[in-house]
């Protein structure tokens, strides 16, 4: 394997679009938090983005093949860290998601575990010896994702646990999922969701009260004007009042749109820049995703393709769930909009993931 990796192969075009999205995010965070107690958050976000770019460059230096070879250790470590959170984590707002680090920072393992899972999936499917996914491999893949997912669900953090699913889904799909298996998943999922939501005995046991309320109230926001349904309703009002070209942002600024700088950043943006602006942002995300897919197609080996598509899956899922929530298609899940939502964990995770993509791309002539 040649050591020659040049930065000409770095995907500057991709980074350009990514930074453009980040820039819009910073702008919107500034606008949304100007009069609130979070003012100045956009500065912090800039720091995160800069740190993220640095991390991305660093990540692209490591040969991803080497990472994949060691992935077993990383996987064990990540499962251990999730267990540690359950055992030793600090409880905040009713959930145990963080471990207190010396120095007063909080470490949220479930984000980093996502990255490890993408790599783990890639290795698993890259090492497969058949064209089609056998049932035993199917279950094995399910377990690889399932174990961390259950640990995260126990925290409880339904939103993050759900984001592990697209990793598995993409991996299986590209790895030769058979029609029958796909159908099986679909049926089990549909029945499972139905049972969990609507059979009281089970739903009581599995879902926490607020989780259940979130999932059911999205169908009928008026049923719960002050709770989860309220957030969706406010979001839709904000988006709708933006019209085609954008409005004055009274909802965002008037504190009617809850937490506009994180989960509902897209709503804030849509209110201020209207249909044109919102569609533009969606277009930017789409371009990023297509570019990523192209990098997957030119990857030097199976593993590389899986890695990149894993990132594509996670990114698409986030965008789908977040924007879907903002326009009222999906329930509130607490999933941020990558690159735009305020928050160090999310920004760093995205740039790490992009770093891995760069990693793959830069080695595409190797071999």
């Amino acid at each position: 394997m040649s050591r020659y990796v040049s930065y000409r192969d770095f995907d500057w075009l991709l980074m350009g679009f990514v930074l453009l999205i980040c820039g819009l995010g910073v702008m919107e965070i500034h606008s949304a938090t100007m009069h609130t107690k979070f003012a100045g958050a956009h500065i912090k976000q800039i720091y995160w983005v800069v740190a993220g770019v640095g991390v991305m460059f660093l990540m692209s230096l490591i040969n991803y093949q080497a990472l994949l070879d060691q992935i077993h250790w990383f996987y064990i470590a990540s499962v251990a860290s999730l267990v540690a959170v359950l055992l030793f984590g600090t409880k905040a707002l009713g959930a145990k998601r963080w471990i207190k680090m010396p120095g007063g920072n909080h470490f949220q393992p479930s984000e980093w575990v996502k990255l490890i899972l993408i790599l783990a999936m890639a290795k698993f499917f890259a090492d497969m010896r058949q064209r089609e996914l056998s049932w035993s491999d199917f279950f094995k893949a399910g377990a690889i994702i399932g174990v961390p997912m259950l640990l995260v669900l126990k925290q409880p953090d339904l939103g993050t646990a759900l984001t592990y699913i697209p990793i598995a889904a993409m991996g299986m799909f590209l790895g030769g999922l058979q029609w029958r298996q796909g159908l099986a998943i679909f049926l089990v999922a549909a029945v499972g969701i139905g049972v969990v939501l609507y059979v009281p005995a089970i739903s009581h046991h599995v879902l926490k009260g607020y989780q259940k309320q979130r999932l059911t109230s999205y169908q009928d926001p008026d049923s719960d004007p002050q709770g989860a349904g309220y957030q969706v309703k406010q979001s839709m009002i904000a988006v709708g009042s933006g019209g085609i070209w954008g409005g004055k942002g009274s909802q965002t600024h008037g504190a009617f749109l809850p937490i506009p700088q994180t989960d509902f950043i897209f709503a804030a943006f849509s209110e201020e820049h209207g249909f044109v602006g919102a569609l533009g942002v969606l277009l930017l995300y789409f371009i990023v995703l297509m570019r990523l897919t192209q990098n997957a197609q030119t990857a030097p080996d199976r593993a590389g393709t899986f890695v990149v598509m894993g990132v594509v899956a996670v990114l698409s899922f986030h965008v789908l769930v977040n924007v879907g929530m903002v326009v009222g298609f999906m329930p509130v899940t607490g999933i941020p909009l990558p690159l735009m939502s305020y928050g160090g964990s999310s920004v760093l995770f995205m740039f790490l993931a992009l770093g891995m993509v760069m990693n793959v791309r830069m080695r595409r002539f190797v071999n």
């Binding site: 004007p225 009042s241 789409f286 297509m290």
Partner: protein
């Protein structure tokens, strides 16, 4: 062979791309639906959509003394607001507003200008704590000046001039630093919490919980609907163990002096009075303290913000001799020790002086206590060694926190060999033990520690935990009630207990060190202490000797065994323990006087009803023959009104 280099089927990759495209089209449709198709509907909804969350404030709990007398209460304080979401011309009205609120009109206009960039729904605070006539003005001009409004908050009213300031503490807005601490996680910026004293220690109890009222307002700010209301939970009131009368006596004694006075019930550990001087007025903090005021208080060398009863760590001086006496007795050394005091003695090549230059002559333990002979205790300390002394001192709680329910108590220092190595990486020199014997040197304690140690000794070894709240008055499970009712028994030989407390009661007699503090009619036992702040030689050389004046200590109790009250006084710069003694005995006198004033519970005579009478009588006609007695009990009705005796002589009723 299917291997690592086998590419992922291109068809599947393309399929993924189309799936993603599909997702985005769905999202775009979602946007279209809201922003193009139903745009008018949502714009209207946005206009109508103003929910105002008006907080319903919970009043903070009152603080009472042990008899239920109110010490700290709240008073309603009104602030004047200027609402800006109406269509009034605020600048034009500024003159009238300024006149009614006694403000400068230019200042009002400047403030309006400054706030121009803020969102319209945020009102401007014009004036806090407005007077009743200003309140009247606003009410009277509701029509002409609809943009003026008031909001009521409860403010804390503390006793004036810093009475009980250190125990009570004060409240303030929670600071950014505090918000970062885990204990304050659930508070929001702007919440008012206890910052020091009991206000802080029992903040959760006192604070209550604000409710809120959600009102729907239209773009004109008029209420068009009410969504809901959560009731406020008022704070619970706190009953202290402090006796207001004793507290007044203690504060009077400490007036104009630096130091502390603490009084405690030795059976239970209830603190009956606690004063620290100098003091500060917490009412100054209640609205908003100016930075200059705050800096002045913090930089004051007499440290008015410190509660010296629990935070002053100083050498105890001769009061420590009592602990030495008990220690020496338990080790069977002190009771038979006889020393000839000639005004000083030499140990390890150094001369250690006694405070009586000519010496006390022949001294035994009893005389050493009431005459406070240094040489005796030098000798005793030398015989025991620092580790034996430290063992007994720590048994009596010195060098450790007492666990009192006030924040920021300090632990003091009780030196030992292990302590020296751990903190200074040096060995303890036997010569250092000598000064510790008379309560100087490395030893440093707080008044409340000394109080507890002496209280334990006076109670024959019964050690309590001092507290200012009675655990019985707490809601179940709130305070670890068990912690404050914990009683430990420290072993003291009963003979030693008798001997030492008897010797202590001679301190206030003519042969003792504080005869001027004697109070006629009250048997007070105690010990004086005069603790040097720097060495005598150094002080002699100092320019202003007053800066290095000694601290006067006194601990006293009455009666001399199983006392009802123990008092400890620290008089900084008081030079001699007997001055501290005078303060303490006055407090004790106040206590005893109060006891005498309180009507004792006696069997009450029934005012109405019947009285039981028993009687023995001889049978009629038996001429008092006592062989045959009859007995019976009678229930006799008391006369309802005074009966005039028929046989009364004229003039006799």
């Amino acid at each position: 062979m299917f291997g690592r280099d086998e590419k992922v089927p291109a068809m599947r990759l393309t399929a993924s791309q189309y799936i993603i495209l599909g997702i985005f089209l769905i999202l775009a449709y979602g946007l279209w639906r809201l922003q193009v198709m139903q745009s008018d509907y949502y714009s209207l909804a946005a206009e109508k959509n103003r929910i105002r969350n008006v907080p319903v404030l919970a009043p903070r709990g009152k603080i009472l003394d042990r008899e239920g007398r109110v010490i700290v209460d709240n008073y309603p304080s009104f602030s004047a607001l200027l609402l800006r979401d109406s269509s009034r011309d605020l600048n034009a009205d500024a003159d009238l507003i300024a006149m009614g609120l006694h403000l400068n009109p230019d200042e009002v206009r400047a403030r309006i200008k400054r706030f121009a960039l803020m969102p319209q729904y945020q009102p401007i605070f014009l004036k806090e704590d407005i007077t009743p006539d200003e309140l009247q003005f606003i009410e009277a001009h509701r029509n002409e000046l609809p943009e003026l409004d008031t909001i009521m908050a409860h403010r804390r009213l503390y006793p004036r001039n810093g009475f009980m300031a250190h125990i009570i503490g004060y409240v303030g807005e929670v600071s950014d630093d505090m918000l970062n601490q885990p204990a304050f996680e659930l508070y929001n910026p702007g919440d008012v919490v206890g910052i020091s004293g009991v206000e802080r220690q029992y903040n959760t109890l006192l604070m209550g919980k604000n409710g809120s009222r959600q009102a729907l307002v239209d773009s004109k700010g008029r209420e068009v609907g009410r969504l809901g209301e959560t009731e406020a939970i008022p704070g619970k009131q706190l009953k202290l163990t402090i006796d207001l009368d004793l507290q007044i006596a203690a504060e009077e004694q400490l007036q104009g002096k630096n130091g502390a006075v603490v009084a405690m019930d030795p059976h239970t550990g209830e603190i009956l009075a606690m004063a620290s001087g100098p003091t500060f007025d917490p009412n100054d903090f209640a609205v908003r303290v100016s930075r200059d005021e705050w800096t002045k208080l913090v930089n004051d060398p007499d440290k008015p913000l410190l509660n010296k009863a629990i935070q002053a760590q100083l050498a105890p001086g001769s009061t420590f001799k009592i602990i030495m006496s008990v220690a020496g007795w338990q080790d069977h050394i002190a009771q038979d020790l006889h020393v000839n005091c000639a005004g000083g003695a030499e140990f390890y090549g150094r001369r250690f002086g006694c405070w009586v230059k000519g010496g006390h002559g022949a001294v035994d333990l009893e005389k050493a206590i009431y005459q406070s002979c240094d040489v005796f205790f030098y000798t005793l300390a030398n015989k025991m060694g620092i580790d034996r002394i430290a063992k007994y001192a720590t048994d009596f709680g010195l060098g450790q926190k007492t666990g009192i329910d006030l924040p920021n108590e300090v632990s003091g220092v009780m030196p030992s060999e292990e302590w020296k190595i751990r903190n200074f990486k040096q060995k303890w020199f036997a010569g250092e033990t000598i000064s510790v014997g008379i309560g100087q040197g490395a030893i440093a304690i707080t008044p409340v520690q000394l109080l507890r140690a002496i209280s334990t000794i006076s109670m024959g070894g019964r050690m309590v935990v001092p507290h200012v709240i009675n655990p019985v008055d707490m809601p179940p499970g709130y305070v670890e009630a068990a912690r404050y009712t914990e009683v430990k028994q420290v072993p003291i030989d009963p003979n030693g207990w008798n001997f030492i407390t008897d010797a202590m009661s001679r301190v206030l007699l003519p042969e003792g060190t504080a005869p001027s503090a004697h109070v006629p009619g009250i048997d007070i036992a105690g010990k004086t202490g005069s603790a040097q702040v720097v060495s005598l030689a150094l002080r002699a050389k100092a320019k202003n000797q007053d800066d290095f004046a000694q601290n006067g200590w006194f601990v006293g109790f009455t009666p001399r065994r199983n006392p009802d009250i123990v008092v400890c006084v620290l008089f900084q710069g008081g030079e001699h323990g007997r001055l501290a003694a005078r303060l303490a005995t006055q407090v004790i006198k106040a206590y005893v006087d109060k006891q005498h004033r309180t009507p004792q519970k006696m069997v009450q005579q029934p005012k109405n009803g019947t009285v039981d009478i028993g009687g023995l009588w001889t049978a009629p006609g038996s001429d008092g023959d006592t062989d045959d007695l009859k007995a019976a009990r009678f229930a006799v009705d008391l006369p309802k009104k005074k009966m005039v005796l028929a046989t009364a002589a004229p003039g006799m009723n």
